[in-house]
């Protein structure tokens, strides 16, 4: 291995230089240089799919970079494996923590390197003492002998962070660390980050919440379409500024336009709305949700990660058991809390995680299509034989209609590409003739052409009189498709806007709403 000492940046713990990465023909990162100093918090912003996680996976060593190199503490680590990089001091704090809930804090901190008495027995007393010393050094509020499962999430996060540092981590990557925290706990995390900085640890802070980022970080970089913008000085920029940098100029769509998108006449309210929700709430996340969607209308649901958008979708679809309030679908009240009741009333949900929740991957395409209404294909009741030919006919219809690329009706659903899988999920609900279609991030993880197809499909579905509730983190998509947009923050609908906004304006608005709700809550906690 070639070890190259450089002096490009004084004090840089990590320097990623001219990184590029392609998956097949798809270039996801081009010529990115990114540095973190000792004791610095460098924030990384970007939309879903912009390339943040790819860059971090390259940093960790899970992916190999196509070009460029990575210096860690002045040493070239480009060729090292993930394991070797962890040993050298790069650590990632995941949203899903890797702590053992049934063990004590001390045991978690020293797992696999417990202090031994006489080389045999784990010396529990020394272990707790060492753990407590470590906790005090970083001034965390933790009890070394507490059971981790009994701790609040923020404290478990501290254990995770301490575990990494006590193993010699000099650089911590935090991916959306506030997403599972309460307001109160967020303050704890921010203090923790302050302590880490004082101890000379570098932090990559990935978040969607610009207010937090502006407050916490020493430098801010933005990844947009695989390129890096910045670094920026947080004291010389603003949310509006960053929002503008993350957005595309108006009218410039990233999607190839094959045919001009069919212009849809705006939905005209006709009698009963397809969906009407009054005072919907869940015990923890949602409160005060009221909305109404007309047949043929596309309503976008905007908000930051953790604002409750997906939770609302799930509540409407009957997945959550603790929903109170009134849901009316096409004039008929639907008691919340049962998926089959929701489906019977005409509600359909295309979930975000299609592989786990949308498709039965191990079964054939035609079975997946027929699954929501199997008994309709039965010739005689539930135990009666099925009309196989009708199922295959259903498959043919939607294959041609939605342009699904596959080998045949019996191909397993899991063998299809992401875009085609999504079309299957879509098709199975379209076949049900739903009254309300809830789409949760319908185009995440599919390629650009499939994205274009999906958008076209959403428009077409709406023009056939189906009400659509569209949840998307891609603001451009929301603005492109929706007739109007509801903004969510902290589990409430805080704004209703007509679609006049441009992307920058909407982005800044979302950040402002999130910040406003957060401070309102914080005052509520303090009071």
């Amino acid at each position: 291995m070639v070890e190259a000492k450089t002096s490009t940046s004084q004090n840089a713990i990590v320097a990623m230089q001219r990184i590029s990465k392609s998956f097949g023909a798809n270039r996801v990162l081009s010529d990115i240089s990114f540095e973190v100093m000792a004791g610095e918090t460098h924030a990384l912003l970007g939309e879903n799919g912009a390339g943040k996680s790819t860059l971090m996976k390259i940093l960790m060593g899970a992916y190999r970079t196509d070009e460029g190199r990575i210096l860690f503490a002045g040493e070239d680590v480009t060729a090292l494996s993930l394991r070797e990089r962890i040993d050298r001091g790069i650590a990632m704090i995941f949203q899903e923590l890797s702590v053992l809930p049934n063990r004590s804090v001390a045991e978690n901190l020293f797992i696999l390197r417990e202090p031994l008495a006489f080389g045999l027995r784990v010396d529990a007393r020394t272990m707790v003492r060492d753990a407590q010393a470590l906790i005090e050094r970083y001034a965390f509020s933790l009890d070394a002998s507490a059971r981790v499962g009994d701790l609040a999430f923020a404290q478990r996060q501290m254990v995770e962070i301490l575990k990494a540092i006590s193993r010699g981590a000099k650089l911590l990557v935090m991916d959306e660390p506030t997403s599972s925290l309460t307001i109160h706990e967020e303050e704890t995390l921010f203090r923790t980050i302050g302590q880490l900085k004082q101890n000379g640890i570098g932090i990559v802070y990935i978040s969607h919440r610009m207010a937090d980022v502006l407050r916490l970080s020493d430098r801010i970089s933005i990844i947009k379409d695989g390129r890096l913008v910045g670094p920026l000085d947080p004291s010389k920029t603003s949310i509006e500024n960053i929002a503008a940098m993350m957005s595309r100029p108006k009218g410039e769509s990233p999607l190839p336009t094959a045919a001009a998108p069919a212009k849809r006449p705006p939905a005209t309210p006709v009698g009963t709305p397809a969906l009407e929700v009054r005072d919907l709430a869940t015990s923890r996340k949602l409160s005060d949700i009221s909305l109404s969607i007309d047949p043929g209308e596309i309503v976008g649901l905007a908000g930051l990660v953790g604002s409750g958008r997906s939770t609302l979708g799930k509540a409407l679809f009957g997945i959550l058991s603790d929903v109170s309030g009134h849901i009316t679908v096409a004039g008929e009240p639907v008691r919340p809390g049962s998926v089959s009741r929701a489906i019977a009333a005409g509600v359909a949900l295309v979930p975000e995680d299609r592989r786990l929740e949308g498709l039965v991957g191990g079964r054939s395409i035609e079975e997946n299509l027929a699954l929501p209404r199997l008994s309709d294909f039965s010739l005689a009741g539930r135990f009666g034989p099925m009309a196989k030919a009708r199922i295959t006919a259903l498959f043919r219809q939607y294959r041609d209609d939605l342009n699904i690329l596959c080998r045949g009706p019996l191909q397993k659903a899991q063998e299809l590409s992401g875009g085609n899988q999504q079309k299957i999920v879509f098709a199975k609900w379209l076949a049900m003739k739903p009254k309300l279609l809830i789409l949760d991030e319908p185009t995440s993880g599919v390629d650009v052409n499939a994205k274009r197809d999906m958008r076209e499909l959403v428009r077409r579905t709406a023009s056939e009189g189906v009400a659509v509730l569209l949840i998307s983190s891609e603001l451009e998509e929301l603005l492109d498709l929706s007739d109007r947009i509801l903004v969510m923050a902290q589990g409430r609908i805080t704004r209703r806007i007509a679609c006049a906004h441009d992307e920058t304006g909407l982005r800044a608005l979302l950040q402002a709403e999130a910040a406003r709700q957060t401070s309102a809550r914080a005052q509520g906690v303090a009071a």
């Binding site: 679809f317 998926v339 949900l349 498709l359 039965v360 027929a370 699954l371 199997l374 539930r382």
Partner: protein, 320 residues
């Protein structure tokens, strides 16, 4: 044809193995290929085959049933009390025995579905209970079974063993139910991906109860057929049926992770096991060494079943 073979690769390989083993068995057997030999083989195979189908239903929905053997023992013992006398009382007895089997299966299903207890723990406990009831009812093997009925069900007609006919009928009925009905497709769907199935509006809980109930029903068929073959009720047969039924489904290509496999595979697996143990019996292996080799075969079968481990995309999937 080729696609069909590829889609049913596991069953195909198992069937080939069975043909080879069966040829070896016939070659080694002192009486060679005769109605007598085939009938004995078929009767024994049917017993284990039905047990394997019972196990299959539970494994299909991501469970495992350690009480299959006990349900077989219990229904066998009940059969030794009820399956004699006038035709009416035999018919009535039959209904009771099968109902007991379904009830046992439903008890398992209710504990798993509504109690939220893991299948392995549930069936370990209920297996003890079912087996215990069998022991209380008949502490030592005994009882009587209607011999005319036994003869009719265990001999051969025109050179074809009646047991084979029974097994084929059961298989055909189940295949139609599983492949061509809403309930069958639903069972495969929840076995493959319970979350997706739920999110698609399938009534997951009810379907699971159907699976456990069907398992109990087929186990009761097996118990009844044990009565026909042995003409006694024996409470001590449970452990060997439980263990062998699990090995049979694994050998027959049924994935313990759920959603993959067919009752045909389970039956082929059962026949393979039966043939191997018969082979050992005639190969002059000392009887005391047989459990060792049977254990070895089971371990190999289960290890082969676990080879799927190498095909997962993400290592994390293994720990779900």
């Amino acid at each position: 044809m080729m696609t069909w073979l590829r889609q049913n690769a596991r069953e195909t390989i198992a069937a080939l193995a069975l043909v080879i083993l069966f040829a070896g068995y016939i070659a080694i057997h002192p009486r060679g290929f005769s109605t007598y030999v085939v009938t004995i083989w078929s009767n024994q195979g049917t017993l284990l085959g039905l047990a394997a189908i019972a196990q299959f239903f539970v494994v299909l929905v991501k469970g495992i049933d350690l009480s299959v053997g006990s349900i077989i023992a219990l229904t066998n013992v009940m059969g030794s009390f009820l399956l004699n006398g006038s035709p009416t009382s035999i018919a009535l007895g039959m209904v009771v025995v099968l109902a007991v089997g379904v009830a046992c299966g439903l008890v398992n299903g209710i504990a798993v579905v509504y109690g939220g207890v893991q299948p392995i723990v549930t069936t370990l406990a209920t297996g003890g209970i079912f087996g215990g009831i069998a022991l209380l009812l008949r502490p030592t093997p005994g009882g009587s079974i209607d011999e005319t009925m036994s003869d009719a069900l265990t001999y051969a007609v025109a050179g074809i063993p009646v047991s084979a006919v029974i097994l084929v009928i059961v298989l055909v009925v189940l295949l139609v139910l599983l492949r061509r009905t809403a309930v069958g497709l639903g069972l495969y769907a929840i076995g493959s991906s319970e979350q997706s199935a739920y999110m698609t509006g399938l009534r997951v809980n009810r379907l699971k109860l159907v699976a456990y109930g069907s398992s109990g029903f087929v186990a009761a068929l097996a118990g009844t057929y044990v009565s026909m073959v042995t003409l006694t009720g024996d409470p001590n047969i449970a452990p060997s049926y439980t263990l062998n039924s699990i090995a049979a489904v694994v050998l027959g290509g049924v994935a313990l992770s759920g959603g993959v496999g067919s009752p045909i595979g389970a039956v082929i697996g059962a026949l393979i096991l039966k043939t191997i143990s018969s082979l050992m019996f005639f190969s002059g292996l000392p009887p005391l060494a047989q459990p060792f080799f049977e254990g070895l075969i089971l371990a190999t079968a289960i290890a082969l079943g676990a080879l799927g481990v190498f095909r997962v995309r993400s290592r994390l999937e293994l720990y779900r």
